[in-house]
């Protein structure tokens, strides 16, 4: 058992999978250069020395290296691709959506594309083009799985499960959750460390997790927003409001069983999402909840999200962009009262 942050836990998870299965390799920009950083967020630091030839540094060519991962996966390899910033996924989405996600179907089930795409997201002082929440663009793409772990235990376990899964999986990581200490920690970073068991373990790709039990309202969130949701729930408890908090975690498919059990109990849902409100993953969650558990709802589902604007640079504006605990509290209070 050891205490680790997400970056370290992912690093160990990748190393363990590479040691376990010689088909696993990593591909991306600046992930294995000697003297470099091990990717933009140190996740693959040191792995190129440990696994020579299996940490492949690419040119800056996202469409290309994603297609290469797809092709290698079809031929029996298990690539873990690294997108430096989630925003660049737009350059690669043709390969992800038109090829990786459809290949099995188009071939009549004759192949599979067991690849993992890792992509950091979140607004972190870098302006509009290194900041987007990209989950919405991949949730619901048939043939693709999408996960978004909020702590180190899940990050490692889900990454390992993703590597072992026979389908393409995108794992979204939040820049403010990689680690809250050390020279490369981001300002505003949140502690997402976990106790990591020594042995091998995986976390399923299709299960939400109840992080806090409560009876009056269900707060649904993932990545950074889960932490804010928990903090909001703590404050709300002091104010006499008992909130259940669910880490949605698996965005495609969505675990409506876990979510439904909670909604049936609380009758109220607040979904928290970083990213513009219109057309986000929360829209699917809200619609899906209403469809499935509409009769249990005591009030319309509420979405707390960013305004419908690009991500601004100025810290004042960025803070106004990203939902925070106080906005969650406000939404819950007006829903419950």
């Amino acid at each position: 058992m050891k205490r680790q942050g997400i970056a370290e836990a992912l690093r160990d998870g990748i190393a363990e999978e590479m040691a376990r299965d010689h088909r696993v390799f990593c591909i991306g920009e600046d992930i294995g250069v000697p003297g470099g950083w091990g990717g933009a967020f140190t996740v693959t630091l040191g792995l190129s020395a440990k696994f020579p030839g299996r940490i492949i540094d690419t040119p800056i060519a996202e469409l290309g290296f994603t297609g290469i991962a797809v092709g290698a996966a079809m031929m029996g390899m298990r690539p873990i691709a690294d997108m430096q910033y989630g925003d660049f996924l737009f350059l690669a989405s043709d390969q992800l959506i038109n090829n990786a996600a459809k290949m099995r179907y188009m071939s009549g089930g004759k192949t599979s594309v067991p690849m993992v795409m890792r992509a950091p997201i979140g607004a972190t002082g870098r302006g509009s083009q290194h900041a987007q929440s990209m989950e919405r663009y991949f949730t619901g793409v048939p043939g693709l799985k999408v996960i978004a772990p909020s702590n180190a235990y899940d990050a490692k376990g889900m990454l390992k499960a993703a590597v072992r899964d026979d389908n393409p999986v995108i794992i979204f990581e939040h820049k403010l959750l990689y680690g809250s200490k050390g020279a490369r920690a981001e300002s505003g970073a949140v502690d997402a460390t976990s106790d990591i068991p020594d042995g091998d373990y995986t976390v399923p790709l299709d299960k939400a997790a109840v992080r806090r039990e409560g009876s009056q309202v269900t707060i649904l969130a993932w990545l950074l927003m889960l932490h804010y949701g928990l903090s909001a729930a703590g404050t709300l408890a002091q104010q006499g409001i008992d909130a259940e908090v669910i880490d949605v975690r698996s965005l495609s498919p969505i675990d409506y069983d876990t979510i439904g059990a909670s909604i049936r109990k609380t009758g109220r849902a607040v979904i928290v999402e970083e990213g513009p409100k219109t057309g986000g993953v929360s829209a699917e969650l809200a619609a899906g909840i209403m469809e499935r558990f509409g009769e249990s709802l005591l009030a319309p589902v509420v979405r707390v999200a960013s305004p419908d604007v690009p991500v601004p640079f100025s810290p004042i504006l960025e803070n106004a962009y990203r939902p925070d605990a106080s906005r969650i509290i406000e939404a819950v209070r007006s829903l419950v009262q």
């Binding site: 060519a61 290309g64 031929m75 390969q95 009549g108 067991p114 026979d166």
Partner: protein
């Protein structure tokens, strides 16, 4: 540009057949494969115009030598990637006319269970990835397959078919560059038929040589008469040898011409009459037949037998395909996830 390419292909003397290809059955095999592709496409065209066949089609009449020549240099466990225009590649790589026709009719017995259709024919067991209908989308894919072969230390190669139009795509640029820097065993096969849809390549490339591009990425490229099946086969053989010896990739630019519309019902009004005629006179099948006959390799009877065999084969296949079992609506939900 127009000049240059016309020049290359004008009145080439039909050379003797190289000694290594002296085996008559091999040569007739090449010939039969080309005839099969041509006749397959003609039947499909008819079925399509007749209204019997759903969807859309992109056909390859006139380009048989590129598919057959390249695939003749491949081993069964080598792979190809293809495009929206993949019927010829499929037949050349050994898919059966039956599994293709069934696919075109949307039958569950089709090579993709009817889920792929004309633009996505393929069969992994026979070394063909379903066609990628996103222009140039198969190029990074092929590089990735070659990367797998290299990491797995197999002797396999992948031949990646694409058109002249694909050269302008970013995916071409990114894919070939990575293949070059990592010396991957992939043969980039550009079927340069002078047109990307209705657009002639001189409108979209100021430097008209596709094979020249290879040098800018630091690997070898070659322009070949793509209507000469032997020349194609030789070039592909050199390329596969290079790839198997760790000297890949190679870019082959195969000059050829599309005798038919870009897709269904395209009357090809953008092709100039004289250009069409010049190229029609250089039909890869007619030329190869003449060469085989002139060089004394085969008799008129051999040719006739092949034609009859192919005809019969396709007649049966079409009949079967028309009666092939269609999927049930519920099949829509299967094959999404592994």
């Amino acid at each position: 540009m127009a000049q240059q390419i016309t020049h290359i292909i004008e009145n080439p003397p039909e050379p003797a057949i190289p000694a290594v290809y002296g085996d008559k059955s091999f040569l007739l095999g090449l010939y039969e494969r080309m005839v099969l592709i041509r006749e397959f496409e003609e039947r499909v065209k008819f079925l399509f115009l007749e209204g019997a066949m759903p969807g859309t089609i992109h056909q390859c009449q006139g380009q048989e030598a590129t598919a057959v020549g390249v695939c003749a240099a491949l081993k069964p466990d080598d792979y190809i990637t293809s495009t929206f225009r993949g019927h010829g590649h499929a037949l050349a790589k050994g898919l059966s006319a039956q599994e293709l026709l069934d696919e075109l009719f949307g039958a569950v017995t089709g090579c993709c269970k009817g889920k792929g259709g004309s633009m996505h024919v393929g069969n992994f067991e026979k070394g063909m990835v379903p066609g990628i209908a996103i222009v140039a989308g198969g190029i990074p894919l092929a590089a990735g397959m070659a990367l797998a072969f290299k990491m797995q230390k197999t002797a396999q190669v992948v031949a990646c078919f694409f058109g002249d139009g694909a050269v302008a795509e970013g995916a071409f640029h990114e894919g070939v560059n990575m293949a070059a820097i990592w010396n991957l065993p992939v043969i980039f096969v550009c079927e340069n038929n002078l047109y990307g849809a209705s657009t002639r390549i001189d409108k979209v490339m100021k430097n008209p040589s596709v094979s020249d591009r290879a040098a800018s990425y630091g690997f070898p490229g070659e322009t070949v008469d793509g209507n000469d099946v032997i020349a194609v086969c030789e070039a592909a053989q050199r390329a596969t040898d290079a790839c198997r010896n760790g000297r890949g990739p190679v870019l082959l630019e195969l000059l050829t011409y599309r005798r038919t519309g870009h897709s269904r019902r395209d009357p090809c009004h953008y092709q100039q009459k004289d250009e069409r005629e010049a190229w029609f006179a250089r039909d890869p099948i007619d030329r190869f037949a003449r060469r085989l006959l002139e060089r004394g390799k085969v008799s008129h009877d051999d040719i006739d037998v092949i034609k009859a065999r192919v005809d019969h084969h396709l007649t049966v296949a079409v009949e079967n395909a028309k009666r092939a079992p269609q999927p049930a609506p519920a099949d829509i939900e299967t094959d999404v996830f592994a």
